[in-house]
Every structure is written in structure tokens, then in C-alpha cells.
């Protein structure tokens, strides 16, 4: 306090010194000093802003020149064109979800790092992503989200977990051929169209086995041996180089080993068998009669391909996760600084009075931290509205699904690239309008603080 008094006391001394000038003159000098900055700002901020606004009301010619007055057409396009509308929708998702999540995550990390040992190390690790450029982060996450489990960490984990509980199926590549002995599909399983009688051989042709590298267990198919019950063979009715007859076991065609096969009568499975290395199977217990043969789907359903991280539905959430990874540390650092500024005695007083840690957090820490929380939240709103780089990078590897991740800034960029400057300007103005409330809030906030 004494220092403050001193400062106040000193001020008049300076003010009453001999060099004092009239207020009008001071303003004039201030103007002169501000002029370079003012001209600079006008040239690189004000003029482009105004020109963008003007340009957004004009149609685009084929080489990008402004043609005729368009009224609000460029703006209505944002709400009618599917790609721009998708961008708008995604921006809404981003703004609603991301600032809240970043603030909450940052708060959790900040509170937890106060309580643990090695807090600094923890903070450094969490803050590290901020030190990496968005481009590099985008590329990293692109790799994590790659479809092939050999490349993508995400799917390596997903497929690993899935296959631990549901073992890999054996023949997803096989499908019926020839004279349609079997009907059905790989996902539902196959079933013979006609019935087979006990005593006559049941020939069940399939095809699609990788003949260049066939399963090691597979042996050439043979005619089923004669014997009691229903006997037959499931074989790959295709040989390397083609030329076989459909529905006939030709020389060189392989039996399909280890396939489960069911004999069905009256809708009920009466017997089950598994094919031998040469594809033969037998239901010795079956007595005379006609049976439908069924090949259960378990042997055919396509292998689990993991999660389509960058597919139609997950691409935006996936990118948001990458963004959280980057910004959670940033929020944590700001909030941790805010928490460090909270007077310890307030917290201790609360604890002395018997408040639980949760109560301390809710009744003391959180209210005292509100200004910082707001700063983080609003900063994130502004950041997220103009999100571009990480979306743009991750989009590159999403192929045909990239359009589902579109955001306004990316839309602006593509319109600009296509020399549709009017459309691009309209998107830019919309972005400015969207950012404006948050900016006003932020500026007011700063002003209040500096007072």
C-alpha cells in the first residue's frame, strides 16, 4: 500500500514540471505518433475487411473477377449449398463441444497436478502437444486413424481387442459359384437350394480361395467315399489357370478343410460335421431322407475391419479428439496459473472449517477461478470458430469422406482456390460475425481487468 501512495504522490510532481503542455497539444502529438500504426492498420486490416464485405455482395466471373451485384446470394448459398451447410453444421458442433471440453479437461488436469508429485513433469508432458505444429499433429493423428491395423494405432487396438473376444473367421473370401447349389450371403450363412438324399453324394461348390497361396491344410478335393449316412464334399470349384467344369470336381481343385456344415430337416439342425482336408464330410448317423445342408455364417463373415475413424460419422469427433489432445494442456497451464494465484489462506480457512475437498473446490476454488475459466473458454471459442489447419490436414487422408469434416475456414479456402472470391468473402464475413461476440466479450474483460 505504501508503494501505491508513493506513486500517486509522485505523479503530480511530474505533471506540474516545467515541461507541461496543454491538453490539445498532447493530443496532437499523440496523433502524430499513432499515425504510422493507424495507417498500417487501416491498410492491412480495415481496407481488406471493408473490401471483403463489398466483394461478398458480387457474383464471380470465370476467372475470379467480380461481375454483377449479387445481393445476399453469396450468403444464402452458405445455407443452401450442401458443402457450405455441412461446414456450418460442423462449426456449430465444434463451438458447442470443444470449448466446454477443453475447459473441463484443463480444469481437471490443473486440479490434479496440484495434488500429485512430479506435477511439473506431468504438466510438461500435457503441454508438449502445444509445442508441435498443427500440421505435424495432424499428420500424427492421421497415422493413428489409418484404416489398416498395420499402420493405424487406433485400429490396431480396436481389432486387437475385438479379435481377442471374437476369433478371426476362416473363409470370408469364399462365395458360391456355378449352378447355384447354395443361396444366402456371407453375412447370413449359406444354405443349399435343393435337398440332398442320403446315399447320393452331396457336392457343394464354393470359390474364391486364394489359389496363389492356398491354405496349407487344403488338399485336392475327392469324390466323397461311400458309406452310411449322408456324405459329400465342399470344395473350391476353381483351379489355378481356370478351365475346370462348373459343378464338377476337376483335377487340381482343392477341398476346403475345417468348414462347419449342418444337416437341416424341417427347419431343425439334426447333425453337424466338419470338412476334412480334402473337403469331404459325413453324417454317418443320418438315416434315409432328404436334408438341406447349411454352412453357418461364422465361417464366412468378413473379418472385423476395425473402426472407420475417418468415416462419415466419426471424422469430426476424431478430429476433435486430436484437437483436445493439443489444447487440453494449454487450458491446464492457464488454469494452473490461475489457481496458483488463489490465496492459500482462503482454502485453508475452508478446510479448517471442516469443508471436504469437493466443497473446497466448488465453493472456494471454482468461484475464485471463474475469470480465468472465462478467458480460457472464450479464447477457445474464438480459436475453434476459425479452426482450419488440423481439419485440413486430417481431411487429406479421409478420401471420399473428407467432405463430412468440412468447416467454414476450409470452405473459404476452397472457394478462394476456385477463384470464387465472392463466395469466399461471404464465408469470411460470416466467420467475422460469428467471432465478434466472443471478441467483444474478451476485449471488455481485458478492459475491466486493467481498470
Amino acid at each position: 500500500m505504501t508503494q501505491d501512495v508513493g506513486a500517486v504522490a509522485k505523479a503530480p510532481v511530474v505533471a506540474t514540471g516545467p515541461s507541461r503542455k496543454g491538453p490539445g497539444e498532447g493530443r496532437w502529438i499523440a496523433g502524430v505518433f499513432l499515425a504510422p500504426a493507424g495507417i498500417f492498420l487501416a491498410a492491412i486490416v480495415l481496407y481488406p475487411l471493408v473490401y471483403t464485405l463489398v466483394r461478398s455482395f458480387f457474383h464471380d466471373g470465370t476467372t475470379g473477377q467480380a461481375t454483377s451485384f449479387a445481393g445476399l446470394a453469396n450468403y444464402t448459398h452458405i445455407f443452401t449449398q450442401s458443402d457450405a451447410l455441412q461446414a456450418l453444421k460442423n462449426n456449430v458442433i465444434w463451438v458447442v463441444v470443444v470449448p466446454v471440453l477443453v475447459t473441463i479437461l484443463g480444469l481437471i488436469f490443473a486440479v490434479l497436478t496440484e495434488k500429485i508429485r512430479w506435477a511439473s513433469a506431468f504438466k510438461v508432458v500435457l503441454f508438449m502437444p502445444m509445442a508441435i505444429s498443427f500440421l505435424a499433429s495432424g499428420v500424427t493423428w492421421t497415422l493413428i486413424y489409418a484404416d489398416q491395423p498395420s499402420r493405424g494405432l487406433g485400429n490396431a487396438v480396436a481389432i486387437g481387442i475385438h479379435d481377442t473376444f471374437n476369433p478371426q473367421t476362416s473363409y470370408p473370401e469364399l462365395h458360391p459359384v456355378g449352378n447355384a447349389v447354395l443361396t444366402g450371403s456371407g453375412t447370413a450363412g449359406y444354405r443349399s437350394a435343393a435337398t440332398f438324399a442320403v446315399g447320393s453324394p452331396a457336392l457343394v461348390p464354393l470359390a474364391g480361395l486364394n489359389l496363389v497361396a492356398p491354405p496349407k491344410a487344403a488338399q485336392p478335393a475327392v469324390q466323397p467315399s461311400s458309406g452310411s449316412g449322408l456324405r459329400g464334399v465342399v470344395w473350391n470349384d476353381f483351379k489355378l489357370g481356370g478351365g475346370g467344369k462348373a459343378g464338377v470336381i476337376d483335377q487340381g481343385e482343392l477341398g476346403i478343410p475345417g468348414l462347419k456344415i449342418e444337416a437341416v430337416k424341417g427347419g431343425k439342425t439334426v447333425a453337424t460335421a466338419t470338412t476334412q482336408a480334402n473337403g469331404t464330410f459325413a453324417f454317418p448317423s443320418l438315416t434315409a431322407g432328404d436334408y438341406t445342408l447349411a454352412l453357418p455364417k461364422d465361417d464366412f463373415s468378413a473379418a472385423y475391419g476395425g473402426i472407420a475413424w475417418l468415416g462419415k460419422n466419426l471424422i469430426t469427433p476424431s478430429i476433435i479428439v486430436a484437437y483436445l489432445w493439443i489444447y487440453a494442456g494449454f487450458a491446464m497451464v492457464l488454469l494452473a496459473a490461475g489457481m496458483a494465484a488463489i490465496p492459500r489462506d482462503a482454502l485453508e480457512a475452508a478446510r479448517m472449517d471442516g469443508a471436504t475437498e469437493w466443497q473446497v473446490f466448488r465453493k472456494v476454488t471454482a468461484p475464485l477461478l471463474t475469470p480465468v475459466l472465462l478467458v480460457v473458454f472464450v479464447t477457445m471459442v474464438i480459436n475453434v470458430l476459425k479452426i482450419f489447419d488440423i481439419v485440413f490436414i486430417i481431411q487429406q487422408s479421409a478420401g471420399g469422406n473428407a467432405k463430412y469434416a468440412n468447416v467454414l475456414a476450409v470452405q473459404l479456402y476452397t472457394d478462394y482456390g476456385n477463384q470464387q472470391f465472392g463466395a469466399a468473402s461471404a464465408v469470411g464475413i460470416v466467420l467475422v460475425i460469428l467471432v465478434l461476440p466472443a471478441m467483444v466479450f474478451q476485449v471488455r474483460n481485458f478492459r475491466r481487468e486493467s481498470r
Binding site: G208, L310, G399, N418
Partner: protein, 444 residues
Amino acid sequence: MSLKIRNLAVAAVTATSLVSLAACGSSSGSPGSTGTGQSLKGVSFTILGQWTGGEQDAFQAVINAFDSSTGAKGIYTPAAGGDEAGVLGTKVAGGTPPDIAVLSLPGAIQQYAASNKVQPASAAVQSAVTSNFATEWATLASAGGKLYGVPVDASDKSTVWYNAKAFTDAGITTPPATWDDLIKAGQTLSSSGVQVPISVGGGDGWTLTDWFENVYLRTAGVANYDKLTHHQIPWTDPSVATALTALKKIWGNSGLIGSPAAAVKVPFPASVDNVFKKNPTSAVVYEASFVATTITSDKNPAVVGTDAKVFPFPSVNGSAPVSEVAGDFALAFTNNKAAQPFLAYLASPAAAKILVSTSGSGFLSANKNLANSAYPDSTSAELAKQLVAVGNNFRFDMSDQAPAAFGGTPNKTEWADLQTFLTDGNVAAAQRQLEKDAQSVKWN
């Protein structure tokens, strides 16, 4: 090559580093490409293009040959970021165009001609183009009846590439000639153990536009093709429905192209790789003649002509043979003294010979007076022969002629619409969306 220009890149306003020597003399006195002595000694001219790597080397070799015979100095610069349309547009608008630009978009020739930004071809260039190229090529390089550009290289976009061994393993001896043959061959390949018989690179939308254009050219004919190219008929036209329905016979068959949801993620290079890699998962891939370059740039390249073979895009619904092509055109933006002689030289068989025979270029030329023996391998010689043999019976890539906002933007408009069609197979919805997108774009 169109796949290059489609790299979405920063439309960077590059510093005008190119020195434009406005040699204000009249070009009437130039002796033409035959280069009588050092007639252009000391004249330097700039060329903007999009070629890099092997293609740039081959083009540089052509420039060097011109330089040494005329004494001029050609300075070639590839456009920053591969976005030539953007860079050129900015340069022209800024009043510092390159002396010559090499463009893959005939539509741009019309645009620049309409705004008087390009120089009409001199008499020497005109006679070189008429004597060396089919008239359709000259038409593509003309606007309002005046010739402006010179065809440089060409690619055949009606080629289907296949893995010869996979065909042998499946016992397919004759390459499919019709759409139904192709479907049948696909099924046979599937039975022979090829997981995804026909590889569709749906991750890059432009491959899908090429599929569509080939089918449309065959089912709707050249007259309709020309109309749709300039959006004179709507995309809701029944002819489009016919083409999409034919296309769906393959695109909608997961036994042939695998899961469409997976196909729509496969980028073009991977779609080629799937057919020619060590343990191939596919046997057939459709794309233009430049697939050869993609194959040879692989880590363990298949041998083009032996492992990798090619058959013409099959006839659809009994259509007669017709080709889709793409290519690059050179045009002069200034009256630099060397510009017209260089264009005339580019149109000559001598320049074409250097262009195609430089190793690693992968270039083909539609120059009909170029000896076929100039090609380094038999497959490209064969492809070039076809290019010349079709005469005027070809059409230029439709999406390359459309405004970029419709036919040339990743994840947008035509590309995105065909990607959606690939995944959902809804013909009517695809037509509606294509028409809606076409209407939102400014056509010439």
C-alpha cells in the same frame, strides 16, 4: 497431366520472379521453328507449367534443343504448389503473364482468349498444328475460330490396366471387350481368389469422373458428351441416368469392387498399387495411360507390357470404339519474339520425339508425324499409336473442361457427388445433386 493440376494447393501469389522481357519487336519476321541459324540470339522467354521431376526434365530437353538451334533462352518454371491455374490467373490479372504457359485445361484457353489475354497463333504455328495433329486437337486449342494453343503431350484416358498373371491364373485369355465381359471377367477373377477384382480409386474423386466420362461417352455419344461438357443439357438428363445405371452394374457390385465404403477411401496411387504390388489384392484398374508412370515409380515396379498390360475401355451397350483423352496445350501470352517460334517448334515431330523419348517422362504425343519408334517401350508405343489412330474420334476429359469449381475440386461438387454415388448407388439423387452443383457454378 490432369492429376497434377488437381492437387489442391495454395493459390500462392508468388513473387513475380520471372523476368518478362517485353521484346517489343514484331514477330512477323521470325523465321519459324526450323531455326535458321541463331536468329533469336539473346532473346529470353519465360514458360510457366506444372511439370516437375521426369516430366520437367523431358520438357527442359525440348527447350534446350530449341535454344541451341535458335540462340534464344527459354526459362521454365513449374507453378508453385502445382496450382498452375491459380498462379497463372494471378500473374495474368497482375499484368505480368509468362511469355508462354502450358495448360491442361482447354476451357482456360477460351477464357483467356475471350478476355484478349493470349496471342493468336502465327501462320507458322498454324501450319505446324494442321500438318501434325488431327483437327479435333486444333479445335480444342482454338477459340472463336482462331488457333491459340499447341498440343504438347496427350494421354489416353480410355485404357484399362490389368495384372497379366492374375488373368492367367483365372484362365482369362482374351481381355474383356464389352461391359458385360468385364463384369464376367471380374466374377471369374473373384472365383480365382482375387479379393477385389476391380480396383476403384474412389478416394480421389477425379478417377470417378473419368470412369463416368468414359461410360457416358459410350452410352450417350459424342454429341451429348459435348453438350454435357458445357452444361447445355442438365445432369438430370435421361442420358446421364443411363450412364450411371451402367456404371452401377460395376460400382454397385461388392463382389467386383469390394465394399464401396472401402473403395471410396482408396487414393489413386493405392488403387494402382493394389493391382501391381507383390501380393496383389486386385487384378484390374481403370485409369489413363499415365498409370504406366505410377507403376514404374513403385518400389518394386511391375514391368509394363509384361506384368502390367492394358486393354481399351470396353464397349458399353454395344457402343462403337471412342477414346477419352487429356493433354496439355502451350499458349503465348505475350508477343515475345521467341514465343511463336517456340510454339511452332513444340508442334513439330522433332520436339515430340525429344519429349517422349527422354527416359522417365512417361509422355505420349498425339503428333501424327512422330515415328512410333521414338517411344522407349512397346506399351507406350502401342498407346501412342492408338492415340494417333483414333483421329478425331475422341473427346477431351469432360471435368477438365468444366469450371474448376465444378469439375476440379477435391471433396466438392462433381467429385464429391460421384463419391456419394459410389457409396449409395442412388442414380436419381446423384443426378439431382450434380445438377444443383452445376447450377451453382458459372459456366462459360
